[in-house]
Structure formats: C-alpha cells, structure tokens
Amino acid sequence: MTIAVLQFPGSNCDQDAFQLFASGLGLPTRFVWHKDRKLGDADMVVVPGGFSYGDYLRCGAIARFSPIMGAVREHAERGGLVLGICNGFQILCEAGMLPGALIRNNSLEYRCMTCDLAVEDAGRAFNTRTVGRRIRMPIGHGEGNYRIDDAGLERLQTNRQVILRYVDNPNGSLGSIAGIRNEEGNVFGMMPHPDRAFERFHPSRDGLRVARAVLSLRFPDILKESA
C-alpha cells in the first residue's frame, strides 16, 4: 500500500501528513509535486493542509486547476482513496469532489485549538466502531465554516456522508460539520488535523484511528493493528 501526499506551492502541512503515514503508521509514503500529471502507484492520495497559492482569492480556488488534480480526479473515479485535510478539504470542495464549501470562520479569526469531535456512523469505513464515538483532534484554520444548500444538506444526511461533527462548534459550520465523505464513500475531507494527533506528546493520538479507518476501506486488516 502506498500513500501519495500532494505538494502545492504554499502547502505547509505536507510534512505533517507525510509523517502521520510514514512514521505514525509505518506505511510507504511519498510526495507528488503539483506540476506532475501522474500519481504513480498510489493507493491513497492525501491533500494536505496549508495555504495553496497563498489562498488570497478563495481557499483552494487556484489549487483545483493544478496539473496534478486531473490525475487525482481520475484516481477517485476509479474508486481510489482520497483524504483532504484542512486546506486539502477546501481544495476537494472547490474541485467538486466533495459537496459544499468552506467560508470564513464566524469569529472572523483564525482558530488553532484542540476540539472534541463526535464520530458519525458514516458507512463501512468511517464509523463509531472503526474510529470510536468521541475523538479529539486539533484544528488550525481561518476558513472552516462549512456551508451547503438545504437540498445538499438533506442528501448528506440521507446518505450518511457526515463523518465528524464538532461537539463545541468553533467556526459556525452548518450542523457543526467538521468532516464529510463523498457519496461513493472513497473521498474524505475534514478540517481537523489527524496529522497533529499521532505523536505521543500530541493532544491525542486519534489521528491514527482516523487514518486507519479511511484506509480500511481498501485494506481491512489495518484495523487489526489498532486493536
């Protein structure tokens, strides 16, 4: 199993995501430059956090046009796993690979803190059994306020696409939504950082559970390691 971590100009959690998989889970992990057009043999693509292209326009609005995004889309259409963290979640929403959008926090301020999160039963991979009922992970973002229209929200709920909700909403997100998956269940996006929750001194090591749960869709055995 190989993990590909994308690097856009302005990605700044690329090393964090890399270490979550490489040292946290001990998986073969490599970087893929945004100007590349091929992913290679990746089983999972991680779109990391940061400020791609400075995010001066709208978070993720430029990154979605990067040459590599074509390959990411094809990978997802073939059923490949994709995980977007923070800016990665914003990019996947901009690219239309996940529904909805992330706008400015309702406080109008950046928020860096550790949040309690309620895990939703969101299908085979991501659920309270694979992840646990309650987890804690840090957030660090200025634009994590999740928005979607009524019909879209309805669809999210019906299809069990919400994977994580904030216990104490830090940014004004609709329905306290902190993370979602696509309808097919192979593309995941979340504002909280599993890549800041895996070392022994981190506020929790729940990032490992999140990463394993996502990977379990293709590699069910990975859940045994956490037992």
Binding site: N12, L20, F51
Partner: protein, 772 residues
C-alpha cells in the same frame, strides 16, 4: 583624495546638489555628511546620500549602542566539543548559531518592528515576522518556530484594542501561512506603551553544521543573483523611519511601512533551502531586510572583503520608471541576494524556475572593495563598502540618572503610610489581578496563531515556556523557549530590571525542565540623545551582560530599537530577552498545571517583604513606584540547579515561576489546567509581615512545585542541603476552591470564578458585537 564627480543620474530629479537641508532630511548630522565626503572623496549624489542615511541609521549601524553591546558575552564557557559551542557569533551575521550536539545546531534571533506596527499594525507586525524568518533561513536553517513579545497601552483604550487586534492578526496572517508555529510569547499592557506599541518577533531554525551559510561575497567574478519578489516603491527608507521618534505626522510616513506576502516567503524558504542543499553552489546569501538592496550588497561585500557591482536594469521591478534612489532604498519584502559560484548559473535558475520565482543575475563580485551601482549604463553610486558598514560612525552618548529614580527608589509602603490589606481587600484583589490583561490568559491571542503546524509542539502556549520537539534527520531533540521583560522593573531600576528579565526567563525554562543554553535580546528604548534614556539603556545592557556571564548564557544575536517615544514620552525601558533551553530527556518536560488532588505545593525561595514595582501596587493603588525586587544571583543559581535536579529525579509533577501578581496569582494559575482542582493553603508559618506583600509581592527567585505527598520530606531535606528555602504550603484538593489561611484570618475563592476572571478578560475586552 579628491575623486571625480559621478556622471548625471538618468533621472534628472536625482541631480540636485546636496544641501544642508537635504542632509538633515535624511537624518544625518552635518559632521556625518563631512565624513561621507571624506569616504567618497567628493560630494555624494542623492542616491548615495540615501544609501548612507539608511546604512548609518541606528537600525543598521547600531551607532549609539555598539560600544555598549561589546559587554555581552558571546561564547559559552561550559561548551564542550559536542555541545554548546557558539558557531556563529552575535553581530557577525544575520543570526547567531549554537551547537546542540551530534552535528546539529540552531540559529535564532529576535527583531523589532515597533514603528511600522504603530502606524499600520497589521502589515507592520506581519512584515516583522517575515523579516525575522528570512534572517534565519539565510543562515541555511529551516525555520521551526516563532515567538513574539508584545507591549501595548492599557486595554481600556480603543486605540490599544485596534493595535492589539491588528498586530495579532498580522502575526497570524504571516506566521500561519508560511507554516512556522508560533509556540510562545508574552504580552504586557501598560500606559507607557500607549501610542508606541512594541512588536518583537523571534524565529528559530535548525541546521546541520555543514549547512551553515554566510552573508559573504567572495570569489572574483562570481555572479550575484537577486531572488524572490520584485522591487516596488513600498517601504522606502524604512530603516531611517525606524530611527526617529513617532510624532503626529508619522502616519503620513505610511509609504515607509512595507507590505508582506507570506506565500511568496514560503516559496522563498523552500527554494532557498533547496538551492543551498546543492553542494558547492552558494557562496554567500543575505536577505534584503532593512535598507533592502543597499544593505545586502554592501554588507556581503564588506564581510567578504570584496566589492560588488550591480546593474539596476536587471532588478525585477513592480512598476516602470523607478529611479536608482527608489530601487536602492526600497524595502519591498521577500527578496534575497545570493552569490553563487561562477559557471553554475543554470543550477540556481532551475531551482527558482521550479518554484516560479525570479532569479535575476544582477551583478558580479569584484576585488575593488567598492559597491558600484549602475543604471541605464551610468554609474549612479560608487562607495567603499566598508564605509557603509565597519566604518559607520560610533558614538558614546551622554548618560544621566533620571531624577525620578531618587523618589521611586526610596519609596516604601511604610514611609508612604500605605494601608495594608484586610481580608476583604485581599479577597477582592485576587480576581482583579487575575483579570488584568498582563496577567490574564492570552488565549485570545494564541488561538489565532497556528501553534501546532510542523507537528512538533509539545508544550502549547499558556505554560511557563514553549517546548518543541526538533526532528533532526532520524533523531530528535527537545528545546524550550521563553521571552521575558517586565518594563516596570526596568523603569524603577534599569540595571536590576534587566537582571530580573534574564533570571526570570531562565527560571521559566528551568521550570519546564530545560537547561538554559543561549539568548537573544531586543533592546527597546527611547531616544538615546536624551541622557536619561541613554542611562536606562546603558544600565539595562550592563544588567543583562552581567547576568549572562554569571549564568553562562551567551548572547547569540539581537536587535536594538531606539526612539520608542510618542508625544507622551518614552516607553518604559524594555530589554526583552529570549532564552533557548535544552531538554535532555523527554521525561523531564514539566508543565505548570497541578494534575492530581492530594499533591502538595512546596514554595521555594521563601516570602520576602517586597511590594515595589508590583502589579498589585499599580492596579490596586495606582502607583508605579518603589524599587524593583531584589536579585541574588547565587541564591537564584542554587534554586535553579535544585529544581532541575528534582525534575530529573522525577519528583516534580508541576513547576511554576512566581512573577507578576505574586504568590496567589501563581497558585491560581497552577489550578487553571485541564483538570478542575482546588487548593488548601496555609501561610501562617511565615514570619509576620504585610499581608499585601505576602500574597501579591513580586520577590524574585521563587518557584512553586507540585509534588507527590510522599516525596515532600525528601524534597524539603534536599532543599535544605542545597541551601534553598523551601516550605510546604498546602495541598491540591478535589473541590475546586482555593482557601488560604493567613495571620489575618481565612480567605477563600471559587476556582471557577477565578478561572473565568482570568480566562475571559481579554476575550471580553476584544469581543466584536454580533459575532460568534
């Protein structure tokens, strides 16, 4: 020697003769211009006058402080072959570097952006962060953490709120985007900073010894490259602007404030580190900070004992029609000067093309010792590089002890007949102190900074010191960092105030389980031409220097910011220090929060009867007076060695330094951790003394330890043997109340009431109506 005049500048505007008025407008004294003429052997051109004015400003030349700074120790006596050697010393380069063992080193430095932040808080603070990050990666180091030290007027003023909001947002905007965590900081609020806030930012980076790069231009014929953002008209003469007092007209100086682009900086960091990793490619590198292209060219030439020729037509420019004066003095951000080995031009160009950045071949290293600048084929400046750097003027200013010290140093509560606290007064004073923004939780500030990116932050902001795990190749090391300076103490006793800044900073590190390694300082003072201000500066520097020597903590770099005055007067002298400590083992990392009911609280350092300079005196009695608390280096050393020994012996659950607000504030803060706890304290064992001094005095050399009950006898007896006063003063309780037995009767508070006062004070002051 008389030299021929330069040909006319291509821009006719620049061909005015240099008049005394022009010299004055450039902030140079008539006798300084006489020296300029001597160095040039002719009259200066306007471009050259501009170049001299920025290079001879205090900001670049340290002309009023250089003799004082020579007193700082720059080497670590206790260094070994594999640890603690200063590899690049203070003043030699953009930042100092110190060995942390196994072939690894850290580069760190603090720098001010006070004046720009006063005028335009967001951009001023943002570009302050950008500038200090460049100072670190130009040394070859990867930036791994930021801290900042901020000073504002009292938070009840709308101006202060605007400044605080802007400065914090600016730091967040820049630091968060470049992806370097802001892991620690300090913020004080005091009237003396009204209208002249202080914004000091620190960056620390890691590197292997063989990755050290210097700002030196050497090798005849080597190409000089300009990389990064294009040059615009922003920040013209910022260094000169930073070297004068703020006035009502300062806001019209707005073009002197630069605008930052953290995205560009992020690309520049990655591209420069990638370029420096190419073996043998880079000869020298320096960022274009204050005085931009001017400073980087003449400093690299001067350090390398070489000359540099640059052609301005090749400099990437943001707008058409910029003349040589503007290009040379622009302080546009996110630019670097790089000297590479001749014949390897393609390699540097390829790296920068990958990152979509400019890499313009703008000049050549020469052997003339001169900085020669041409534009449109005409020489527009031709100056001996050393005249701008090593041979800049140096002054020994006049120092005079300020008259106010006669009154304040003699003040005592007894002589002033200050009524002591009764039980009710004490009950009210504690929540008031806890909610004063200087003491209150800074959560509103640090939750806006990304303090977790790079996933190495171990102790988050809010404890005695920030602790970070450094990932060094396949191994790891832990360091702690802390800033300190109480300007009030420095106002009341400059020498001792500076000593306190240092010893308190060291004590904070020790409480986190770290051995102090090295320091960087930011000297924030008023106009040095006023003898009283210069006295404060001189005394503070002496105080820092003797403390550094006593504790063997070398100064590896720093910054001087003078002219911190508004029409209301000078700021309190503020020699901010930042010390880095080294943590031998992860298990030694200690936080300030009590975690378990039943643990005992042990006060180290006793309870002297001092009230001078305290927050209590300021807040409850409206007085900034008295002498600063006493400092005893030997007692302090014994205390710090003892704490480290106890931490290493595994007997310390939590440790917290006593500082602003004294004993009761420190006890309360230990109870503000993740677990809801209280404490039962008995202070009747201390000798009878004033209750206000006992509860809220700020005597130095004191630390509270939280230890398992069973270890108390052992700790008390080791303390006795070590010559450290130690008293068991109480127990951590499961009920969240703080009860204190005193000679004047019992006192009690609900911890949740105290916590709310402490936690929400800044947040509610900064609340924007209608927002979540």
């Amino acid at each position: 020697m008389k030299r021929a005049d330069l040909p006319p500048n291509p821009d006719p505007v620049l061909n005015q003769p240099i008049t005394p008025e022009l010299v004055k407008k450039h902030g140079l004294l008539p006798e300084e211009y006489d020296q300029v003429r001597l160095h040039l052997g002719r009259e200066a051109t306007l471009t050259e006058l501009g170049i001299f004015s920025v290079m001879w400003s205090e900001h670049c030349s340290y002309k009023n402080t250089r003799p004082l700074l020579k007193g700082f120790p720059t080497e670590k006596k206790g260094a070994t072959e594999n640890f603690g050697r200063v590899l690049v010393k203070a003043g030699e380069e953009n930042a100092g570097i110190i060995d942390i063992g196994d072939g690894w080193a850290i580069a760190f430095k603090i720098e001010s952006h006070n004046h720009p932040s006063a005028i335009e808080p967001f951009e001023g603070a943002a570009t302050g962060v950008g500038g200090i990050i460049r100072d670190i990666f130009t040394m070859g180091a990867r930036p791994v953490l930021l801290t900042n030290s901020l000073r504002f007027g009292e938070l009840d003023s709308p101006v202060t709120k605007r400044l605080l909001r802007g400065v914090v947002a600016g730091i967040a905007h820049y630091g968060n985007c470049v992806g370097v965590p802001t892991v620690a900081g300090d913020v004080y609020f005091d009237r003396s900073y009204e209208g002249n806030p202080l914004v000091n930012a620190l960056c620390l980076g890691t590197l292997r010894h063989d990755q050290i790069r210097l700002g030196k231009a050497t090798g005849l014929g080597n190409p000089v490259y300009y990389v990064g953002a294009a040059t615009g008209r922003d920040g013209l003469g910022g260094a000169a602007f930073a070297s004068k007092e703020l006035s009502a007209e300062s806001s019209s100086d707005r073009p002197a404030v630069q605008k930052g682009d953290p995205f560009m900086e992020k690309l520049l960091i990655e591209a420069c580190l990638e370029m420096m990793a190419v073996p043998g490619l880079v000869v020298g590198i320096q960022d274009m900070g204050a005085a931009g292209l001017t400073c980087s060219t003449c400093e690299t030439a001067s350090r390398g004992g070489a000359g540099i020729e640059i052609e301005l037509d090749r400099v990437p420019q943001r707008e058409a029609g910029m003349n040589s004066y503007e290009i040379m003095l622009s302080e546009s951000q996110e630019r670097m000067l790089v000297i590479v080995r001749k014949g390897r031009e393609r390699e540097i160009e390829e790296v920068f093309a990958k990152w979509d950045l400019h890499a313009a071949h703008v000049g050549t290293v020469t052997d003339t010792g001169r900085m020669v600048v041409t534009q449109h084929g005409t020489v527009v400046a031709d100056i001996p590089a050393s005249a701008l750097t090593d041979n800049a003027p140096v002054y020994q200013r006049e120092a005079r002890r300020p008259a106010y010290l006669d009154e304040t140093s003699r003040w005592t509560p007894e002589a002033a007949r200050l009524p002591d606290l009764d039980a009710q007064g004490a009950a009210q004073a504690l929540p008031r102190l806890l909610s004063h923004p200087t003491i209150a939780s800074k959560r509103w500030v640090y939750r806006q900074y990304d303090h977790m990116v790079q996933h190495g932050t171990v102790v988050l902001p809010g404890s005695d010191a920030g602790v970070v795990r450094l990932r060094l190749g396949t191994s790891e090391k832990f360091i702690a960092i802390k800033n300190d300076c109480n300007g009030r103490y420095c106002y009341l006793n400059p020498r001792r105030g500076a000593q306190i800044a240092m010893v308190e900073c060291l004590r904070n590190l020790v409480c986190a389980g770290a051995t102090p390694l090295a320091m960087t300082d930011n000297l924030n003072f008023g106009n040095p031409y006023k003898p009283e201000n210069f006295y404060q500066l001189k005394e503070c520097v002496a105080g820092l220097a003797e403390t550094c020597r006593h504790f063997d903590v070398p100064v590896v770099g720093g910054n001087v910011s003078l002219y911190n005055e508004s029409p209301e007067g000078a700021i309190d002298p503020t020699p901010t220090v930042s010390v880095v400590g080294f943590i031998e083992k992860e298990a030694h990392i200690t936080r300030q929060f009590a975690r378990q009911a039943g643990s005992r609280l042990v006060l180290l350092g006793g309870a002297p009867n001092e009230l001078g300079g305290s927050q209590f005196l300021g807040l409850i009695h409206g007085k900034k007076t008295g002498d600063a608390p006493a400092v005893d280096f030997d007692a302090e050393k014994r205390l710090q060695d003892f704490i480290l020994a106890e931490i290493r012996a595994g007997r310390v659950g939590a440790a917290h330094d006593l500082s602003e607000g004294g004993l009761l504030v420190a006890i309360s803060e230990m109870l503000f951790g993740a677990v809801s706890l209280g404490a039962a304290i008995d202070l009747t064992g201390f000798a009878p003394q004033r209750l206000d001094a006992l509860l809220f005095g700020e005597s130095q050399g004191r630390v509270l330890l939280c230890v398992p009950a069973g270890d108390v006898p052992q700790i008390l007896s080791s303390a006795r043997a070590a010559g450290v006063p130690a008293d068991g003063i109480g127990t951590v309780t499961p009920e969240a109340t703080l009860s204190v037995l005193t000679a004047r009767g019992p006192l009690g508070w609900s911890v949740s009431v105290l916590r709310t006062a402490w936690e929400t004070s800044i947040e509610s002051a900064m609340k924007r109506p209608g927002l979540g």
